[in-house]
């Protein structure tokens, strides 16, 4: 009797715990899946809708087109506003995003190296200033920057000067901040060894620091690519010629114009415009995750 009772009391909690665990595991997956559907469904629906005829798009909530058509894609190829179509606008986007990315990683790395590895008078103060600019809203700067660039004659520049030039000077401070965070965790021994071997600071930067910082630099490049390709306000203010419109503005333009509202065309245009971002995200999602975690967790 007592043995049975004993084994029951031993067994019961186990069963209860296991059952409890099973229930909570179930709930975890349940929540994850439900929330996941809310996260992803709109995007999948968007992809599906681009293949639907216009009268089918809002007739149900299904993903798969009943009468699939590529007419949305065909009409999204149409050039609009003169010398511009979706492909050209994507090329326009790249033509300033790529310089922006390159300039940003170079200038941000150099600045981060200066702050992270040298002691000089006023360093702490200047670093505090740099940190403060992280909290300086771009909205406050838009108007005076516009007036400044206007005076310089850069507004409507065919070379996207107002968009590109600031990145030469590490103006996206977030990346400097991110790189400084990484730099802190890199041991200084190698640099000291290099210095003893007669490397000057520039050589040290190129040969020692950059290779070790590479994962962080790649993250910076990826984020800058994403943010710059999504940027809407910059081109809205500084690009006036349709032939020079980037994809973001082109999407807005093609949404506003044209007779009859063809949602499949508009959604197809939108989807094409974010394809490069989607591809890059899937190709390099670990870099994104590591990059963003590093900025937050170590700060």
């Amino acid at each position: 009797m007592s043995a049975i009772a004993k084994s029951a009391t031993v067994k019961d909690p186990n069963v209860a715990v296991r059952r409890k665990n099973a229930i909570s595991t179930f709930f975890r997956y349940f929540i994850l899946i439900i929330v996941g559907i809310f996260m992803v469904y709109p995007l999948l629906w968007m992809v599906g809708a681009t293949f639907k005829p216009n009268n089918e798009i809002f007739s149900g909530i299904g993903l798969i087109a009943k009468e699939p058509t590529i007419s949305g894609y065909v009409s999204s190829m149409k050039s609009y506003g003169g010398d511009i179509n979706i492909w050209k606008s994507l090329l326009n986007t790249f033509s300033y995003v790529i310089p922006k990315v390159v300039f940003t990683i170079v200038s941000a790395t150099v600045t981060a190296y200066g702050f992270g590895r040298f002691k000089f008078k006023g360093r702490d103060f200047l670093f505090a200033v740099l940190m403060a600019t992280l909290f300086l809203p771009q909205v406050v700067l838009n108007v005076p920057q516009y007036i400044l660039f206007n005076k310089l004659g850069w507004v409507g520049s065919q070379l996207y000067l107002p968009i590109i030039v600031p990145t030469l000077f590490a103006c996206d401070t977030y990346f400097v901040f991110m790189l400084v965070q990484f730099l802190r965790n890199i041991p200084k021994e190698l640099e000291e060894a290099a210095e003893i071997d007669g490397c000057n600071p520039v050589q040290t930067l190129v040969k020692i620091i950059v290779p070790m910082l590479m994962p962080a630099i790649v993250s910076c490049a990826l984020f800058q690519f994403m943010w710059s390709s999504n940027d809407f306000m910059g081109p809205l203010l500084y690009v006036n010629t349709p032939a020079k419109y980037p994809a973001t503005i082109f999407v807005k333009l093609s949404m506003d114009s044209d007779s009859g509202f063809e949602w499949n065309r508009v959604l197809a245009t939108s989807l094409i415009s974010i394809m490069p971002s989607i591809i890059i995200f899937f190709a390099a999602q670990n870099q994104f995750v590591e990059g963003i975690s590093a900025g937050g967790v170590k700060g």
Binding site: S79, G81, G82, D83, N85, W87, K88, L90, L91, F94, N150, G153, V155, G156, M214, V218, L237, N240, T241, P242, A243, K252, L253, D256, S257, D258, S259, G260, F261, P276, I279, I280, A283, A284, N286, Q287
Partner: protein, 457 residues
């Protein structure tokens, strides 16, 4: 491993983007016929240079305009013909829909980066060329641009502060009703010829077709214009004349009450309903396209884009100006619908003037443009088109009805961007406010009155 994966994927992306480049390069000639003609034109220019007597420089000029699809197509055709006629001149062009167009151009005028030739609205001269430095005095190119085709009274409307001729008017325009006859047929009633008919139609629509059918749809600015027609008729004087605002607050309130009564009688949808359609204008509004909004109050020059939006299934007809607003006249006004101007920054004003002259005065260009910018004001253009029987019957009918019943000219101050802006303009605030129930008509009248007084200072 990770690095390797990344570099592989980056390579893949680059390869993809390169194929993207490749495909555009291949498609480009097919997509921009202008480019090929340009090349062809250059070769002909080279071979025929000796024989060509026309005295102009080979150059590139730029041209910006706004409009709907049909205007774009006609203008593109006219540009090609112009380039064929004057080999060596290349026209670069930009066009767009009205939304956001004005802002982009205004900033270009400000930064002196605007195109050489611009289609402009008549209030732009005062708004964006306050010191007369933005638009070229067209008297300086009168050798090339035949100004004698316009009556002095029309050219006078285009003067800038220095007395220079900032632009030439393309056409005159006023607002008139267009009705979707198909919907009225479905409701079994005639299209409205008077305000009384319209009110009755509102009731019939709700009963026979359903609550989401309206005989007329008016956005905030349309409401302001409808109120203006009503008040100008009733009070028999223009709302603004020579820069002076003529009405009192009480009179404005009367106009606003009138508009609100239309909404209450199910004649026009509330602005909340229209906002919910998520369309920037009626020609892209699904409810207009499907006939649920069966009428609009539009510029006489504008019907083509609505006709093409409706397609073959539905018929758009020109209505009558109402004569039963309660006054002697119809209250209808006319204004310069759009004008052509040359920027002072233009390096080839002569060739720019040639383009304008081609579009507005040259029988060849006029025939191609036809009535895409409304019934032309240039005398030779009107003659050319009527001789060729090329005046679009719909536009001609609308234009004649407007001009026959027009009682007043519209002052450019009425279209001041602070009043008219579709984002933060006073008209929008006042009419949205009433329709959404935030303002009484009395409050809204006060807001409008203050704004008019400020603009007309």
């Amino acid at each position: 491993m990770k690095k390797k994966l990344l570099s592989v994927s980056l390579a893949a992306v680059m390869a993809l983007s390169m194929t993207a480049c490749g495909s555009t390069a291949v498609e480009a000639p097919a997509e921009t016929p202008a480019a090929t003609t340009e090349a062809a034109a250059e070769t002909t220019a080279a071979t025929e240079a000796a024989g060509d007597a026309a005295d102009y420089e080979e150059c590139e000029i730029s041209f910006d305009w706004w409009g709907g699809d049909s205007r774009h197509e006609a203008t593109l055709a006219a540009i090609e013909a112009f380039q064929a006629k004057y080999p060596g001149i290349t026209v670069k062009y930009n066009y767009g829909a009205w939304t956001d167009y004005e802002t982009a151009r205004a900033l270009e005028f400000q930064s002196k980066t605007a195109a050489d030739v611009n289609q402009i609205n008549f209030n732009w001269i005062g708004d964006y060329d306050a010191d007369g430095s933005v638009f070229l005095d067209l008297n300086t190119v009168s050798d090339t641009l035949d100004l004698s085709q316009w009556g002095d009274e029309y050219l006078d409307m285009m003067k800038d502060v220095n007395g220079g001729l900032a632009a030439v008017p393309v056409s005159m325009t006023g607002r008139i009703f267009y009705w979707d006859k198909t919907t009225f047929d479905e409701a079994g009633i005639e299209i409205p010829k008077s305000l009384a008919d319209l009110r009755a139609a509102g009731k019939t629509f709700a009963e026979k077709l359903g609550d989401d059918y309206y005989p007329l749809a008016l956005g905030p600015y349309d409401r302001m214009i409808m109120a203006t027609l009503y008040l100008q008729s009733k009070l028999d004087q223009p709302i603004i004349a020579d820069g002076t605002f003529n009405y009192t607050e009480e009179q404005l309130k009367d106009g606003l009450d009138f508009i609100q009564s239309l909404e209450d009688d199910h004649v026009i949808p509330s602005l909340e309903t229209i906002d919910g359609d998520a369309a920037d204008s009626f020609d892209v509004n699904e409810k207009f396209i499907s006939g649920k909004y069966a009428g609009i109050l539009e510029w006489d020059s504008a019907p083509k884009k609505y006709v093409s939006a409706l397609g073959d299934a539905r018929e758009l007809v020109v209505g009558e100006e109402f004569t039963d607003f309660g006054g002697k006249s119809t209250g209808v006004f006319y204004k310069v619908s759009m004008a052509m101007a040359i920027s002072t920054t233009c390096e080839h004003p002569k060739e720019a003037a040639m383009l304008i002259n081609y579009l507005l005065n040259d029988p060849e260009g006029v025939a191609i443009m036809a009535t895409e910018r409304g019934i032309p004001q240039s005398e030779i253009a009107v003659k050319t088109l009527s001789d060729a029987d090329a005046l679009d019957p719909l536009i001609l009918e609308a234009h004649n009805k407007v001009m026959d019943s027009a009682a007043f000219a519209l002052d450019p101050k009425f279209e001041d961007s602070g009043l008219k802006s579709t984002d933060n303009g006073v008209y929008k605030d006042a009419f949205d406010g009433i329709s959404y129930g935030d303002y009484t008509t009395e409050e809204a009248a006060g807001i409008l009155f203050d704004a008019f007084t400020e603009v007309c200072q």
